[in-house]
């Protein structure tokens, strides 16, 4: 079965996230690593080396990990030894990616009540255990689920809108 242009683009989006997470979103070679992973994946797929469709994720993960290891080995072989500890990879999306989404993100944040924002802040940024958040904010688990789902739904829509733009571009 051939992959459509949009299937390939979806694959690239996931790999970009995976590679960015490993190398940092500021790494200038993310696209090269993604492209090499896709190339190897398609080659092995063409040769029927993928046993089952369910194993696709693990298979892709294995290829991606190898490409990242090779990239790191090459970088450390070619580059002089760093004087200090290397910078940890950036944790967030790069500014360029965020630029277009900035307005949408702020609109999403404006729609959250201060209390919801505080709950989400405790959960995502302070990494408080759910039990402690429920206790400190006097919430039931059902309330907490509502806060979480409501916020996630808004941001899922923002992501889907940005995805539709990519899809339109991929289909051309």
């Amino acid at each position: 079965m051939n992959l459509s242009g949009w299937d390939l683009e979806k694959l690239r989006l996931r790999l970009r996230c995976r590679v960015g997470h490993a190398l940092g979103f500021a790494c200038p070679d993310i696209e090269d690593v993604v492209q090499e992973t896709v190339r190897r994946f398609l080659e092995l797929r063409r040769d029927d080396r993928l046993a089952t469709a369910e194993a696709g994720g693990a298979f892709l993960q294995g290829i991606c990990r190898n490409v990242i290891f090779e990239y790191r080995r090459r970088i450390f072989r070619d580059a002089p030894m760093p004087e200090g500890a290397p910078e940890p990879p950036s944790r967030t999306l790069p500014e360029a990616d965020l630029f277009e989404l900035r307005e949408a993100i702020e609109e999403g944040m404006r729609q959250l009540s201060p209390r919801d924002r505080q709950v989400l802040h405790l959960f995502y940024l302070q990494e408080e255990p759910v039990e402690r958040i429920l206790e400190s904010m006097s919430l039931t688990e059902a309330n907490f689920r509502v806060v979480l789902c409501r916020a996630k739904e808004r941001f899922r829509q923002i992501y889907q809108r940005s995805c539709n733009k990519s899809k339109a571009a991929a289909i051309g």
């Binding site: 996931r14 997470h21 994720g57 990879p89 967030t92 989404l101 404006r110 990494e127 941001f155």
Partner: protein
Amino acid sequence: MGTPYHEDPIRREELIARYLLRKLDSEAADAFEAHYLACSDCFEEIRATELLICGLGGSVRQDRQNEGIRILRFARTSQLTGTSPELSVLDRIVRTPGDTRVLIDLSGVSRIDSAGLGMLMRCYTHAVQNAGVLKLLNPSSQVKRVLSMTHIDSVVPTFEDEGAALQSFQTLAPRTEAEN
């Protein structure tokens, strides 16, 4: 065997948050990556959470001027009180090593309490200890009154005009080794 990632949305969110903050151990991260590379649903959740975390962390915006002055602004009307999320974001940003010329725009701050004042003073101390300087810009009347009552405005330079505030950074004489 069913996938554990779809059983409980809260547990999945915890996992995603830990993954994005790089707090998952390598084995768990590896398994989750193998899963989301093939699962549209989980990948979509990751991206939505990523945007949400950016939004939450983005309550304080950072602009950088040519002279290495970092200006912090609040993206929306905020309170600098003990329970407000902005407090920890501000703390994290100001304590970034190397950033010691900082201007905090307080125009978006509607209320400040002892925790907020304590945070401002910690930021100020951090800057001074690192041979830097911290200044405040455009506090609202309520915040200005609190700064005045606590005499913080006599310690931390406070400005009404951004141009004047930036200018004041430029007129600072560079510190010598002896002064440090």
